[in-house]
Symmetry: D3
């Protein structure tokens, strides 16, 4: 993405981004049924680095497997690039953990921008206190070995029914997480900034008591000229 794109995406909402994507024919880019553990964090923005889980076969998922430095879960945590977002396909199964406090702490220290799973995290109260955005379905204390086997790193995956390709731009806010296809990130960021500006104007007018009819969307000429004036006044 463009150098300025990340900054732009820090200031817009996932709701606005979803609408910008919808205008481009993409309606399934919101990761369904995940929520922030630490909603007061600034937006999470970064390129997707993915981890894929499959169902665990008992003989391949004993506690010993973590001694293997090549275990994909541990490898992903050490290799996810700084600034990226680790997105995990847990098949929407939150009966066991996708990751825990120590691994998320390591990601934070390595400069990773955030972590998302459509399953759950263990140590969720600790993760909620870390300064790295984290999103999951619900807490899951059991080790991943009971349900999940980490099998692939940085392949295309599904997460919460959304398609995620490595390099897609992931944005999270207090509401949830959206996946922006890599080639659209710059233009969608630009449009979302514009939309946000207009929505700020609309919100201000609504709070002053104006009707939404003709204003949102601005089908009345008056709304459009008021917005132009407001914008000039704000210098935005």
């Amino acid at each position: 993405m463009d150098p300025g794109t990340k900054q732009k995406l820090m200031g817009v909402s996932t709701a606005t981004l979803c609408t910008a994507l919808f205008k481009r024919g993409l309606s399934r880019q919101f990761i369904q049924d995940v929520r922030p553990l630490n909603p007061a964090q600034p937006n999470m923005v970064g390129e997707a680095y993915t981890l894929r889980y499959m169902p665990a076969r008992e003989d391949l998922n004993t506690i010993e497997v973590f001694k293997n430095r090549e275990h994909p879960q541990r490898k992903a945590v050490e290799e996810c690039p700084p600034g990226a977002v680790l997105v995990i396909d847990s098949r929407k199964d939150a009966r066991a953990a996708s990751a825990g406090g120590i691994l998320v702490s390591r990601l934070m220290k390595r400069g990773v921008a955030g972590i998302v799973t459509d399953g759950g995290f263990r140590d969720s109260p600790e993760i909620a206190r870390l300064a790295i955005p984290a999103y999951h379905q619900r807490p899951a204390a059991p080790t991943n070995l009971t349900v999940h086997q980490a099998i692939d790193i940085n392949v295309p995956i599904g997460c919460g029914d959304a398609p995620v390709f490595p390099g897609d731009v992931i944005v999270g806010d207090g509401e949830g997480v959206v996946v922006i296809p890599a080639h659209l990130a710059d233009e969608v960021a630009d449009e979302a900034v514009e939309m946000t500006l207009f929505e700020d104007f609309v919100q201000e007018k609504v709070m002053e008591g104006r009707s939404i009819l003709g204003l949102y969307p601005p089908t009345d000429e008056q709304s459009r000229s008021d917005f132009a004036a407001w914008r000039r006044g704000k210098g935005r």
Copy 2:
């Protein structure tokens, strides 16, 4: 409803109201699986004004449709009476938004008493900061157009598996939302006030260490006379 009924309903809980309705043979009036975005608000009380969504057909739900001033979602927001509660039948589908921050702000400014959907809201962090009670299943950033088409205003609907008729009295608290059939609102409010009084007495006695046996319900004569005395003492 009677002039005093709203005031009474501001001071009782949805749990108490559900029991009062159960005594009258009504056991499905609690809207299942919705929660308050802003639980610290006072109770939400108002008559139901409804909006019905159906599944969205793609050709009828482009971004252009909002330019139509008669679009039922926008119309409902402008026409829902002050003091009423807007109740939305989203077929329990939270994959897309039932409404967003600007529309809920407009409802608030228009004096609407609250909003409930069995789907989700977009801009949920913003809505959580507004001074209007709002209840949903979970946040949903995508525009309603991706999943929902607003089709009917003020018809009987289902919301969270509860039947809702226009004019029914809707009450929400920190726990959830209950639907009181219009013709029962006054008597149920009266009974709930009485029940609340008794439950306050019971809670006080329990905190003093008394057993619930014979007290809750008051099968012991002692409990009944203690309550009468307590009540006189409190002047309630």
Copy 3:
């Protein structure tokens, strides 16, 4: 359990306990999909005392049944031993309450250590303010009579897909609730204390910037000797 076991279990997490159980071949001991109403409480630790609900048949579940002092729900509340945890099998059905504020208050006053249901509580905002740990799936205002009939006390049950035998040791924290088979409680508590010590060390090292490879698990000799030194330094 040993006198010291409860104290040990107050200081470890459900996540650590799940791993200790997994090492012993037990992978289904976490109660799925329940959450604390009052997450700031200290850990909940106590032996399981159980209540089993079955689906309610209408003629057997009128409001009158609570006048019966032998009603199993009320009886369980009065007979659950101080220090025990009341665990309720609500068949994962949260459409009606498993219990409410007055009953939970009574449990608290009686010295019961906590309450868990895989259904929901009514009066959940009040319960959230009590000084007794309580876990449920989601709030449920309707009286239990609409969906549940209390039928058995202190028999083996399922709760959130976990097997619970009377006397099993129940531990809850901010993440959820785990069931430790009675005969394993002492040894699992001991092991969890050791594991927690090591995880504290690892977390500290990770926050200092160390890689997890070779450290977690400590396959490097260096990690093991560092831990030994750290432990001596801490006097733990």
Copy 4:
């Protein structure tokens, strides 16, 4: 039940019985989401003998447990009275078998009237060829030990969200299974026979082209007199 009641129940449908129960205020007596493996069988009628499963704890559910002659699953199969129906509470979980072909064959040879589980059977193709009615949710090849532990015999249970007490009268047909409270069996059977007679008349008239208005229910005097004449003509 009365000697003639079983015979009457062999000739009526679960749909008719559900309506007769609904008229008595009972609306949850149909076992949800089970289907006959062998739908061409005559009705299944018998008194409920129950088996309750709880979630399996791994250490208590090794293959060795079946060597115990007191294992509740095996015991239930040998002790369920001839003429009774074995009803199993599998917590609606069909991931593992509630029973298999050999046990169902044994029940058949012992004269048991049928078997119902809200989970699944293994060896379902073989069971489908046996001359004993069997109802389940879907086939489930894994042994019950992987998910279920048999824990109680002949206690009140839930099955497919319906309440089942030992001795209740169970009736199954090509549609599903209904639970008639023991004390109502005789009167409900009588009423269902009458209803069936009337519905046979209505069906005949409808097939002759008559409107259902005024006929079903028979609000027109003409319908009632036609039925009386039809009945006399049939000698029923």
Copy 5:
């Protein structure tokens, strides 16, 4: 629809129709999770006439309500036009019946083309023997009154997550049911006939051993000329 359109739709599959709709940007027109009770019937084709259920409130749904000739369920059965398909929105809830054998018989006698519900039918074994196509989720013996209240006739509805407008063309086959927007019925029927012709050719070639590459779709010139020759040979 055009006079010939119905005939064309009798000879094509729902799968082919779904693809034709997908090419026009419509991807949600298949009614999810319904199946034919009588799969050997010819295709069901007719214009949608709809019935909407809402959750039943107990006081409004006693057995007496059917005495009202204006009850929407009974009215719909008598007023659904011959040749139309009655499509019922049961909110995907199959716990109670959407209709039963007598009503479906009446529809058949009235010349109605078929019936679809996203809930269930009672008397399903009888309906399976009638000469009218019927589709549901699963059998449901309880009367609709226990869960559903018929509330609206011939309004836009959802059925199995598909949008259905009165007058849309409904097609059912052994696989399921698809909803064709009224204005597209003629062109989609024409295209589906053409597609079916080509698929018949492809199927024949595949059964002769040809690879699908270059054939399906016909990216090879050879495939296209073979098809042209085959078509001439068949005179289709």
Copy 6:
């Protein structure tokens, strides 16, 4: 697998195989919630060749993509080895087809042993008439493009919550499908043949009226010697 293993697996049931795997600590090898379209077929036996779907992004899944000869779905159909079973990870989502009649016909002609998806097939009535075993969740007329994007061939996947590695031995019967890890196939086949022999003996004895106690499992010495004699008599 050994040359004789396939033959052995043709004669045993998935239920027996699940038990043999359970004895080896593997309890999740049954593919959940799939059923045969053509249950009268002989057993399906072959090594797994896999196809992985991810959620479809609209711009990457237009009807044009099938013109690409490298499209993974089409490629898998042409490259799945004769004798293998094509196992598809459709994320348990049956809203759109995993494959249709023409592709399954091509697999059959190519000598593939069977096909399994945890989603659905389109053209299911046609597939049900083909002489190749096919298993799915339920029919799904919409093209895969509406929900699924084929992304990987022959990687480890999940199917119906079971782990599937390429080369694992897949066995299907009238009940469902089980996944045998490749390295266990020979020994599990041997054991299953022995178990089947014993179960045939038990079934015969049960049909003669013998109790299962002491017989199944054969804890009585008499049962073991009877079996030995029976076996000699049968020459098996």
